[in-house]
Each structure stands twice: as C-alpha cells, then as structure tokens.
Amino acid sequence: MADKRIIYQEAGCYRCDAREGRPYLVGAKCRLCGYAAFPPRVVCPVCINRESMEEVSLGSRGVVDTFSVLHADAPGFKAPYVVAYILLPAGVRVFSPITGCDPSEGSLAIGDEVELVIEKIREDDRGNEVRGYKFRPIRAGEKEAGAG
C-alpha cells in the first residue's frame, strides 16, 4: 500500500499568522476602487485594471450570509453536512464547509459569527488527507477572545 500523504487544497488562499498562530484567508484588493476578491485575483473586474490589485489578508472571521444542510453525498463529503456562504468584513462572499456545528436545521442561523480553521476537509480518491479552509461558529464566551 502506498504511503498516504497530506494535501493542502488551494494552499495559496490561506496562511497562518506567525506570531499568533491564527489562520487567515488571503485575498486581493483594488487600490483604486476597493473591490476585494477571494481567491486573490490579478485583474480588478470593476476597473478592468491589471495594475491595481494587491494581496491582502481577509482576516479570519465573518458572518453567515446563508447556509444549507446537505443530505446527499458529494465526492469526499458524507451527508449530512453543512455548507455556507460567509460574508467577510472586506465585503467578499466565500463558499465554505462549516465545522463544529450539528448538521440539523436550527443549529446555525443567518448572521451567526464564524471563525476560520484549517483542517482536514475530506479524503481524495486515493485516501490521502486533503486539508483546506472551513469556518466554525464562534460560541458565546469566545467573542471577546480577539478581534480577528
């Protein structure tokens, strides 16, 4: 049997803060119009300018814009599981699986605050562990623990 590997999916889209050890998403922001993109893009689609985008941290916290509990499997994902669009402070909507949340109606709500984690999201066809970004709900009492 071949050795199992750990694969980082879209590794350029997130990083870990060296001092605090807190992960954050990497995006791009237009110097001219303020448009922010995730994953990072080279050309601003509003200005259609290829000089104006620069890499920025999009932070590690956001709020649930909308979500669903999925009851059908997808490749690497066993139902039921929770997915959401997360609205980040920079004004970007990011699709993400949700962890740390019971996959049942009522366990998550629009407007809930969530925090980025980098962890195993699935296994690929060969059984390798695929790591990537996910968000988890911030529980009451954790909210003071850093402004993200």
Partner: protein, 378 residues
Amino acid sequence: MHPFGKFLEKRLEDLARVAVWNAIEDAGVPPKEIQAAYVANSLSGLVTGQEGVRGQVILRDAGFSGIPIVNVENACASGTTALRCGWMEVASGLHDVVLVLGVEKLFMPRTEDSIRILMADAEVRLMGMGFQFLGWYAMELRKYMAAYGWRKEHFAKVVEKNSFNGSFNPNAQHRKPLSVEQVLGSRLVAEPLTLYMCSPMSDGAAAAVLCSRERAKKYAARPLVEIAAIGMQSGRYADPRASSRPSITTLAAKEAYERAGLGPEDVDVAEVHDAVAPSELYHYEDLGFCEKGGGVALIEAGRTKITGDIPVNTSGGLAARGHPVAATGLAQVAEIVWQLRGEAGLRQVAAPKVGLVENTGGIVEDEAAVATVTLLKR
C-alpha cells in the same frame, strides 16, 4: 423534441436525430435548405469521451454534413445560447435557414458517475469544498425566507402547480400531479429543499429551425413565431454588492424587453428556469412580474397557473419536464412556440401573443454563470 426521461439504451445521436427531424417536419423546411447548424451540449464529453466536435458527430447521424456546424457550451443555458447564435446568424444576413439543437444524455449505468459529471457545470474548485447545485439553490432561497417570510409550504405550491401542468405534457419525464403534502413529505435533499422540489437527472433533445422572415413565409404551413429579442448576461461573482444589485436574469430581461420594445405587462405566457421549482418565485421578480419578494403572493393567488393572468411553466417546468442540461432551453422555446400557435392541447393558455423564455446556467463562485431571456411573439 425527443421526450425527456431515462433512455439508457439510446445514444446521444438517437435522441438528437428525433428532435432534429421533428423540428424540420414541424417547420416545413426542405432539409437540403438548412445552411448552418449550432449544436448545444454541455456534458457528453465527460460521459462518452467525445470532448471535441460532438456537433459534427451528432449531426452526421441525423443526416447533416457539409455545412458549417458550431459547438455551443454554456451549461444549463447552452440551448438558448445556441438559439442566440442562430438568431444572430440569420439576423446578420449570413444565412437564411439555420438549425439549432440542444441534446444531453446524462444517465449512465452507475448514477454516481452521472452526479459527479453534472457537477462540472459549476466551478470545479468549489467541488473540492463540498459544493452542490441543489445546496446553492437552497442557500439562495433561505435568504428570501429570512427577508420576506417565504415558507416551505409556498415552495411546495409551486411544485403542485408545475407537476399538474406536467401531467398534461407528453414530453415530460414526470407526469404525476403532486400534492403540497407529498412534496413536503418527500426526503430532504438540501434544507429547506425536498426531493420533489428539484429537477431530475434527464436525457433528451430539442431543436428549432430559424429562418429569415421571407424564407419562413415561403415554407410555413403553420402560424409563424418571431424571435422579438434575446437578452443575455454573465455573472459578476463574489461581488458583495451583487446581492443588492439586479440579478443577471434581471439584466438579461431588461435587455430583451428594451430590444423588443415590450415590457413584463405584455408577456402572456412564460417558461422559466426552475432547476428547483421554488426558484420560479424569485424569477417572477427578475422578469418584472412582481416586486422584490412578491413571488409568493403570485403563487398564492394562482396568477401563474394555466388559467391565471400570467401563466408560468405550463410545460411543467424543469422539475416535471426533466432537465437534460443543454436541451432544456430549446424545450422551453418549443413550449412557448406551441402556446403561441395554439397547439398546447390541455396546457393551452387563452390566445397568447407574446411569450418569454428564461434560461440560466452554471455557477461560478456565488452566482449563476449565464442567463438568457428570449421574447417570442406571434
């Protein structure tokens, strides 16, 4: 059309040939006078391995070769994208008689293979994150539930209407009328959506023959239907302003209305892209049939039934008729043509003059990748 359904024993070519010849016979056009063709197909490259020149292979089987053939791919909106290409070709004067075909064969011996392939119509990077089409619709609809108090019962009412309409459609995949209770009682797929709210996996084909006005008058044995305009728009993706800006369907509709010199009040019958039946509710507002959030009032008042003042999805829509991706748009067009000619049988609405087809396709980031709105008139 070739009826929509599950045809494991048929090839892509078999479905296409039937639709092409039905369209030719219907149009009364001598087949040798077809000068060019656009063939819409989204996913058969992954199903059969024939990634290139599918249109040439498919039409050779239907008897057509030695003419310009263009392959068209725009996910679920491939069919009306091909229509738009053919419309431009005739309008430009390049050719007078153009065939457009949409064909898709998704059923495979192992259904999980089909499901995996279907996902290729959304941005592939999202697949590694657990993205699903139905989940996207579920998330869109949840926003309306939160903002406007829409409920699952309203969603089920759309299915009740469309499944009733589909029960009269000989080309429909599902012809069983469903009650609100049956819809709500079917299994959860992507909360808040249940199985019966969603369009099925399908095989099928639909075709149309486009002619210049002069040629059409020469051939036509039946009342002529004119393409008044087609509007088209692609997505803007992950722009936080998108949710407060008009949807791409709204923009495509605006373009079509302006080009045609028509407005929503002129539309007598419409086919809309309800990949999940409740999405019909927000397409009402996209198309100007109601104010934002007003879709539920339309369904509750029965205004979009066949007997209502703005009948929508008389064919049964995608959930009842079936959704063979690239064939859907031209099946929508076929339904509106039949309605405008008074040939829709038990589904016929009272003397329509103007019909509308709305077709959307694909998902990139957080938005549909393409939307088209076609206005047809007698």
